[in-house]
């Protein structure tokens, strides 16, 4: 089943075509990678798919629903969640609060329940809190739940971004450079984590990454962007050998050899 379908997505900023005719179909449960040199338009694709930008042309369907008229928060309610390349945690809030905010949309109590402190308020707050702690436990962050998230080490901030994204109960998870700034060992740990959450939560994952070991290691399908154009698509092996991809990353020998 196609969970996400992007057709001819084009994003133009003034005279610059950041993304040109981007097509993507994600099948339920698949783990796909989006790679490309710096400035290829990868993050712009993410922003188009999550509604941060409205594409100049083209359509995005999520589980058959056209996302064109929807705002980013409505798209999130439909089941897309994401992390950000330049970490966007709620820095002054605690780790737990960060996760709780993401589960806001699942709260069943109204503002009046909270103001009057009715039993439903306590029940729901406890339920959401338990759920958030459960997620933190999976990532071994439960011991730091009351620390301000801005004070976490870099690698854990990236982890928390993933946890927060999971707390919205997504169907599709977009990871924007989850391994950026991580060392070898941390990256390997992250690969396991991504594989695990995908299985446990039944997620479809699309990730942007520069770490080739991670991309080649876990992605089943890879799309390569260069200057906004999709230049190649396929399994890791075929991508590795694709001359166009090699040219995009390493440059073309102008001499023609």
């Amino acid at each position: 089943m196609n969970i996400l379908e992007a057709k001819n997505v084009t994003m133009q900023f003034g005279g610059l075509k950041a993304v040109d005719n981007f097509n993507l179909t994600l099948i339920q449960g698949e783990l796909a990678g989006l790679i490309g040199p710096n400035g290829a338009g990868k993050t712009t694709v993410f922003n188009c798919l999550t509604g941060v930008y409205k594409p100049t042309h083209g359509t995005v369907h999520l589980s058959g629903v056209d996302t064109e008229p929807l705002k980013p928060f409505q798209i999130s309610h439909l089941g897309i969640s994401r992390t950000f390349q330049n970490i966007r945690l709620f820095k002054d809030l605690t780790v737990l609060e960060n996760v709780l905010i993401a589960s806001n949309q699942h709260a069943k109590h109204t503002m009046l329940d909270s103001i009057a402190r009715l039993p439903r308020h306590f029940r729901e707050e406890a339920r959401l809190r338990d759920k958030a702690m459960e997620l933190l436990r999976i990532f071994n962050l439960e011991g730091k739940s009351s620390i301000e998230s801005g004070g976490l080490p870099y690698g854990e901030q990236r982890k928390l971004e993933i946890i927060r994204a999971l707390a919205t109960d997504p169907k599709v998870l977009f990871l924007d450079e989850p391994a950026a700034g991580m060392n070898h060992k941390e990256t390997e740990g992250l690969m396991d984590t991504i594989a695990k959450i995908r299985k446990d939560f039944g997620l479809t994952v699309l990730l942007i990454e520069h770490d080739m070991k991670l991309v080649m290691g876990i992605c089943e399908r890879i799309l390569v962007l260069d200057h906004g154009v999709t230049i190649a698509q396929g399994n890791p092996d075929s991508i590795r050998k694709d001359p166009k991809v090699i040219a995009a990353y390493l440059g073309v020998d102008e001499g023609g050899h």
Binding site: I101, N104, E124
Partner: protein, 335 residues
């Protein structure tokens, strides 16, 4: 979550009941030990508490910047004042209760009308719109003869009156209780709101709007909500203020009045309700009791020299405000 019914009810109404009892005791203490002037200042402090905590919801918790909240206070003050003076000549306790709520509701409606279009704007732009709103309200009041125009509205009767012969008297203590009731309710509602799932939505908007949206928060709705709730309580503070002074004048609700509240909120700590309360009480007493005494002693009015100097030093020494984003109980818990 297996509380007995009694405990459930207590969780809901325990703090409100306790705080009203607290105000009853506090009122007795103040009445027994101070003169009428100090007692009037205390009522002003109560109005300022509501004013400051309601502004904190917008400026502190939601991270927007309103500099026209005196406008909402004016709406609440004039609506309730008009009802007390013109509609019933001798308002009882419950009349006042409903008039204050009415003032709050009209202010909230104004907040909705101002907030809906302008909360799509960010930062400075919102500030300018709210500034404009505050001035519009003031100019409308000056030009409305029905509420006294530039002369102001006088003889606003306090509620809970005791009639002695042809005079209607309001014991200070009773009005203090009524005002205290509204302070308690405002504070508790805002506290419970900010300490819940719904309150965390306000914080997420302050922290990072784009991330909040990506996490499924309807940021526009959250901002409008904060603005409307804030203007509602601002209207309530106006009602308390109007009946404390028993006189209203449009020139009270200038930009300076809005700045007073901003100073209280920043000084107490953006995002700290208890901080706002401490700052509101502190500044009101400092201005009216502390510095006025100094002025009388030396014979020159240096209030507007000393007060800004205190603010400047405070902001240099503690830029995050008295409590920062923490609340009073947090400081306890740390030990």
């Amino acid at each position: 979550m297996n509380d007995t019914p009694v405990k459930k009810i207590w969780k809901s109404i325990g703090t409100p009941v306790l705080s009203i009892v607290g105000f009853a005791i506090l009122g007795q203490l103040i009445e027994g030990s101070t003169n009428q002037y100090v007692q009037l200042v205390c009522l002003g402090a109560l109005a300022n508490i509501i004013f400051a905590i309601s502004l904190n919801l917008v400026n502190g918790f939601t991270g927007q910047f309103s500099i026209g909240h005196a406008g909402f206070m004016a709406v609440g003050a004039y609506v309730s004042g008009y009802l007390s003076t013109e509609v019933v000549k001798v308002p009882g306790l419950f009349d006042f209760f409903w008039f204050a709520i009415a003032g709050g509701l009209v202010a909230a409606a104004a907040g909705y009308v101002v907030g809906l279009p302008s909360l799509r704007l960010r930062g400075d732009y919102l500030a300018i719109v709210t500034l404009g709103f505050g001035e519009i309200i003031r100019v409308i009041l000056i030009n409305t003869p029905a509420v006294g125009g530039a002369r102001g509205m006088g003889n606003i009767p306090r509620p809970v009156q005791v009639e002695i012969g042809e005079y209607a008297l309001t014991p200070w203590y009773l009005y203090f209780l009524v005002a205290g009731f509204f302070v308690a309710i405002s504070f508790i509602v805002l506290w419970r709101l900010t300490h819940s799932t719904h309150g965390r939505a306000f914080l997420s908007v302050r922290e990072d709007e784009i991330a909040a949206q990506a996490m499924g928060i309807d940021t526009t709705k959250v901002k409008v909500r904060a603005f409307v709730i804030s203007s509602f309580f601002c209207g309530i503070s106006g009602a308390v203020f109007a009946h404390a002074n028993q006189y209203l004048n449009p020139s009270t609700f200038t930009f300076t009045k809005s700045v007073d509240a901003i100073v209280m909120v920043v000084l107490g700590g953006l995002g700290s309700l208890t901080g706002s309360v401490v700052a509101a009480v502190g500044i009101t007493f400092l201005m009216e009791l502390g510095l006025r005494q100094v002025t009388e002693m030396i014979g020159i009015d240096l209030r507007m020299v000393i007060y800004p100097l205190i603010l400047i030093f405070f902001m240099i020494l503690r830029p995050q405000g008295i409590f920062g984003t923490k609340e009073l109980p947090d400081l306890w818990r740390r030990r």
